[in-house]
Symmetry: C2
Subunit: 524 residues, 2 copies
Amino acid sequence: MQAKGFVRTIEIDRPSLSDNTADAGRLEQSLKKELCADKISIPLHILKKLPSNLRSWNFKAKAVLFKTQSSWIVLELLDTLLDISVLGAAIDIGSTRIVISLIDLETGQEIGEQGFDNPQAVIGPDILTRIHYSNHDEGLAELNRLVIDAVNWNMSKLCKEHGVQTKDIYLVTAAGNTAMTHLFLGIESFEIIKEPYIPCVNIPDTLAADSLNLDINQNGVAFLFPNIGSYFGGDLIAGILFSNLDQKEDICLMVDVGTNAEIVVGSRDFLIACAGAAGPALEGGVSKMGMTAKPGVIDKVWIDPETNDLKIHTIDGKKPIGICGSGMIDLAAGLFLSKRIDIRGKFSKAICKEQLFEQDGIMSFTLVDENQSATGEPICLSQVDLNSLTSSKAAMFTILEVIVCNTAGLTFKDLHKFYVAGTFGSFINPGSAISIGMLPDIPLDTFEVLGNSSLGGAKVLLTNPDAFERVVEIRKSITYIELNVNQEFMNMFSGAKFYPHTDISRFPSLQNKIEADKRLLNIG
Amino acid sequence: MQAKGFVRTIEIDRPSLSDNTADAGRLEQSLKKELCADKISIPLHILKKLPSNLRSWNFKAKAVLFKTQSSWIVLELLDTLLDISVLGAAIDIGSTRIVISLIDLETGQEIGEQGFDNPQAVIGPDILTRIHYSNHDEGLAELNRLVIDAVNWNMSKLCKEHGVQTKDIYLVTAAGNTAMTHLFLGIESFEIIKEPYIPCVNIPDTLAADSLNLDINQNGVAFLFPNIGSYFGGDLIAGILFSNLDQKEDICLMVDVGTNAEIVVGSRDFLIACAGAAGPALEGGVSKMGMTAKPGVIDKVWIDPETNDLKIHTIDGKKPIGICGSGMIDLAAGLFLSKRIDIRGKFSKAICKEQLFEQDGIMSFTLVDENQSATGEPICLSQVDLNSLTSSKAAMFTILEVIVCNTAGLTFKDLHKFYVAGTFGSFINPGSAISIGMLPDIPLDTFEVLGNSSLGGAKVLLTNPDAFERVVEIRKSITYIELNVNQEFMNMFSGAKFYPHTDISRFPSLQNKIEADKRLLNIG
């Protein structure tokens, strides 16, 4: 039960001959006191019946509020005797999946959550395709309609399931990447993907929900988290809010491992951010490895300490059908730690033995043979797949090193916490990621999984009025670093393509192992 | 041709890899520089097509702007190559008559003006009747619809006559008294006329024209001048703006002689205001004397210096049908200066002779006999009519004295200018008003007629962006004095009921004359 959210019960001073302040001024005074605010905005729809309402409600009212850039706005004024829900909806506008959380604004409690696939996928699975589509004819309107209709349909479903009404939703907070935010607002997005990569808007105002065609209360408003630029979106600002990175005494890092890798390092004193999309090294992306998690997908791989065999775990324990991203990282770690691949990321015939085969001149490793696979086909990892994973893990490490060491002038040991955001990140085993040199070799308890931090941040904003100022401050204070893919970066990247790295001193927990391998290969 | 209005042609910096500010941020920067402003608000409808518009317009645009309480708002962004009018409408929302002035916002020039009767008169001629009506069933909605429909119809007519379109009107500024402002906004007004006389709102925000059902550009806005309280409305704030009272080095006074007398005295250093409606002495009002000005109405009366007869002038030189308020003041002055009434305002049989007659015990003075009247009836002034005028003129003088002398601690001689606002005031002959002791005995060239200062102020706000800040400042800085009708007021009022006053030293220009009369009547 929260004390001070966006719903406040207030008492208004009664007028008299010695105090003939207007009713609106009277309401404003009460709210200023209650909110410790400078400026209150009372829209026309509330003014219209304010005199008779105040008098019939005995000068008591329940105010539904929101904080905008310049003032607090009164969204609704209700009779304190009425038993009406006052709701808010937090939305994570993912390009793949959208999640809505319905919150009781009076108690701050979550009423329910609803996830669904982003229907814009019918236009194209990736953002680039969608933005290209948005640039033709009615493409933008269609993409906008797809997402808004789906949000409306699912909000309505969620409300029905919990016996509440969409008209009682007064507030929507939504976080998405820059492109998704533009498409949600129906704003032209084409320049985002074209050099010099210019978003239309970074700080959308608080908007009338009606102007976005959101089916909530007709006087409701929507707030979209601001972006830093084309490649650092509101979802990450929401993540910073959710992780409290901006309030930490000690330096922490947050990484969102999605199609791009977006990283923020900092504390209450500074915030430095960068996004991986700037570098061609990340093309394809870390999370594109493997298939989407579903029953039968291999999500964990480990070495049997007795046999040195690779063991697998599938989602729901079903017969394996393939492997997902986090499984791939486990697999690479297992291959490396069992010496099935060497420090260059090449398969070792001597160790792999019959699990290795060659097809069209490319070596492949059989993880699951056709007899144990659900598809009747073996589940294999080719050298090409492995090289792609190697590039991705190297890019991730290089970006981390660029921002933490080269830019912020820190070492990884200075990181008090290493937050992993995003759905994909939630499943990564940090131990495996360290083993392959994707994440830095810091104590395992430094790593913390945030889950859907974009949704989490949107929820914080719905329930904590102080969060608005923090969002504005985070947006203002972030130093965004353009990843400069120059010779220095490429040199660092080359080193990071080894397992775990050419410079073994960066991975002390693996050092002994690597020294041995190095002697074997006459490197370093 | 004004240099800097609400329409500005701006150039926007082009984006580059080294400056990837969002398009909205880029537009904001340009406007901040152009306007020397802190905060610019760019609404969604402009953002939606901003990227392609900026690029196809070669990063040049014509911005239509307005200043709101907290920021500048971009109402529209236009291609500089398009030849489109950008218009504003200033409205004086009088309870009797409404006047619309159509302004070209680019040049600041008036395109045309249209006056029409306030159609709310079908509900009732006076504000009290209308507000009572607004309190029943759909009364408020009907009164609101009447005024808005009439404004829309007349704006459209005005536009057609001048070959422009209502959709090119982006800005409406309107000034009216507190009740008219509430009815224009469709806000409950009943508490305005009920003790303790509480308006719903004194400072309406800038509103979407759409939310007021004004048929202008769909993204246009409307600004209603703020009120001080129930009896000091936006029309007077507009008047102060128009007269520049708030910027005067020397102390000036503005009086709006309407149903009430509203007075402001001050300079750039202070503003003190009061309104006559607080005192029962003003009941009936100064302007209610006589009939509305129209052809045949006596608007001027003077003494023939040779014959000492009273001469009349009628509007359009038609045969007389009655007398209007300004004619009444002239008549009273003529009666007094010709000694037909004494200093107590009583008819003198000795001087009036056969022009005076008695009916039902009440003396009446025949100004025009039945042969010269257009109606076949004589035009007379009864002692009852005269007493009513005496009360009104005494109330006006007392209020002036209370605010100028008792409250501001000045003398009338300190007034650099005495502005007379309002339609009724425009026709008053200051010499006559001084002669009867209605206005103070100060040099005639001190008086200046402002005309429709409410419309004038609304026009200033349309054409001069600096005016907005002045309106806010005027609203904030006015000290509003409740007219306290106590024993002291009643004593002053009693003295002011004489012609011109019991204390003749206050009217030095009439002193000789009065001394003679006093001796005659043994007063003083």
